[in-house]
Symmetry: C2
Subunit: 351 residues, 2 copies
């Protein structure tokens, strides 16, 4: 027997007999007194499965007309439908939630087990605010659940990404020299001219890259870190000394996001990690937990990209970054800079 | 015997005896009458090698002071020096050229063989205009040479990329139906409701993705192509018919770069290729030369990204795109849209 429901506003209302059949048996909808209220997405799926029929203002709606109606009521309805159907067909019980859906672990269901994931549904085309990820992550982690982004691409293919907070750390300790050495700021990098200092910073500190025997080139963040820690003095080409704030100002002119990159660099160095440029991977840093010898550089452990707290992700770029990091077996981590620094790892997930 | 030169403006001038020793033997500098004029980069290298000494206004310049001087005369001098030194040390003969350097093939040298590459020197931080690549490519290809980008990253590591024009093409032929079918534009994709049409467009045309049995979802570019070719009629949710220009306008509101994406999509389809979204690779399209069966989709052949003729590359993004494409053994191709469409492939190069 097909159950009949009525579309009222943004849900379909069924009579009492549906509570047993749809809700108690298969966990669709939410009982409200003597009726069952079923969300639009659940309904579209139930119509597709041939389990229910829906009326609107006295007229029956077939799948097409229900879908068109729902998609005019509920923004991005089709995205939610694609994700809901996918999860259901993978054998998960799914319920509507503030982020999109609440998903029960395989084998579990409402009333038996707590939910495991919160699914945030979005499309490839919708820019994603870091601040909204942080908000959702806060909510979800408070409930001891996991946050999963479900991204529907242009061809309606689905990719799931899990977002987690993380705290990268390593074992490196910086030994400082007695007396600072002097280096020159050229166009967009710094050169150390003293062969002994060049060698020691490179071999013991894992800073810079030798331009040739005796001359070490440092990146802006490296130089700034050494300057701040009293290990280096930096002059411009006219041999005028630069202090930390003067150098930072110049560096920010060369590289507009210098200040957030530096905040992440400093944080990583201070937690025992060695960051080097991640240019070949398209990120700000590749990061080593442990280096024993610069000549035998191991594979790096993380790819870390510095972003502002106000950052908006393009999902295409996020997808590319995660894919690339995974292809070289590294974690893709975003370092968000605000009054404090927070790290998030984003990884492809196979549900 | 160390040769002595004088720094005058932006070059170092040597007396006649240097012509034999520096130029005829090792191809440094350009003879001018009875003197040899050597560029700043060549000079820094010659000082480093201990082959010459340089004076400026009566005073000797050591490596450090020559380098500081040169870097204040010649913008991004250090980048050119890093690239020059790298090429020389790999055994290439190198001469200054309009793009940066002209490089002779291994084993060849000026006067014996023609140059093989033109090297365009730049830094990770400098945005790269597509229009300037096109200009250089024109010059270089007219001379039957190859264009190589030498990109110096933050850590002074060097990556070489070769840029080439390319013409992707495939073997797919589109068979059209007698009568157009009707589809609905939802939020940002189009749905075909007719099960027969869904099946035929998917199986024979390789369009769309089945949402379930009987319903096919099309992307905006696919829908627009089918609309333009009279294979599909498209209605909005209120069942108002949309024509090509109306649909394009709506699609451009949904996706700001719709028009260039569509231009590339149409061009690829018209040359026998099957483009699908490249979202998982962070590009607009992954492209198939040949598909026999949608159920047994082969690996795609190209990753293609649509850009405007006025596009500016961020080298970090370029690096990421090329690295990702190579990691899945595909060519990374940019499709530039102007009054006509041009394709460029960018690939990592090991000199």
């Amino acid at each position: 027997m097909t159950l009949k429901g009525k579309l009222i506003k943004d849900a379909v209302i069924f009579e009492k007999n549906a509570i047993e059949e749809l809700h108690n048996r298969s966990f669709y909808g939410r009982p409200k007194g003597d009726t069952l209220e079923v969300s639009l997405v659940e309904n579209a799926y139930l119509i597709y499965m041939g389990k229910i029929r829906v009326e609107f203002e006295g007229e029956g709606l077939d799948f097409k007309n229900f879908f068109l109606k729902a998609s005019s009521i509920f923004k991005n309805f089709e995205l939610y439908y694609i994700v809901y159907k996918d999860l259901r067909e993978r054998g998960y019980y799914v319920q509507p939630a503030v982020t999109g859906f609440r998903v029960y672990p395989r084998g579990g269901h409402p009333g038996k087990t707590p939910a495991e994931f919160f699914i945030y549904v979005t499309s490839e085309r919708i820019p994603l605010l870091l601040s909204s990820i942080i908000t959702h992550l806060g909510t979800v982690e408070n409930l001891k659940k996991r946050l999963v982004l479900a991204i529907v691409d242009e061809d309606s293919d689905l990719t799931y990404y899990e977002v987690k907070k993380t705290i990268p750390n390593g074992t490196f300790k910086l030994c400082t020299e007695d007396k600072p050495s002097t280096a020159s700021l050229l166009e967009d990098r710094v050169m150390i001219w003293d062969p002994k200092v060049s060698l020691s910073l490179q071999k013991q500190g894992f800073f810079g890259k030798p331009m040739d025997e005796g001359h070490l080139q440092l990146s802006l963040v490296e130089s700034c870190y050494l300057l701040k820690n009293g290990i280096l003095e930096i002059e411009d080409r006219e041999k005028r000394k630069l202090d930390f704030s003067g150098f930072s100002t110049l560096a920010s002119k060369i590289e507009s996001n210098f200040s957030i990159k530096y905040a992440i660099y400093e944080h990583l160095r201070n937690t025992g990690l060695v960051p080097k440029t991640g240019f070949k991977f398209g990120t700000h840093f590749r990061v080593y937990k442990k280096i024993e010898d610069m000549a035998k550089l191991p594979h790096s452990d993380y790819l870390i990209h510095a972003i502002e707290h106000e950052h908006t992700f393009s999902l295409q770029q996020l997808s590319r970054a995660v894919r690339l990091a995974n292809s070289v077996r590294k974690d893709m981590i975003y370092g968000a800079v605000d009054s404090k620094v927070q790290f998030f790892t984003v990884g492809r997930m196979r549900l």
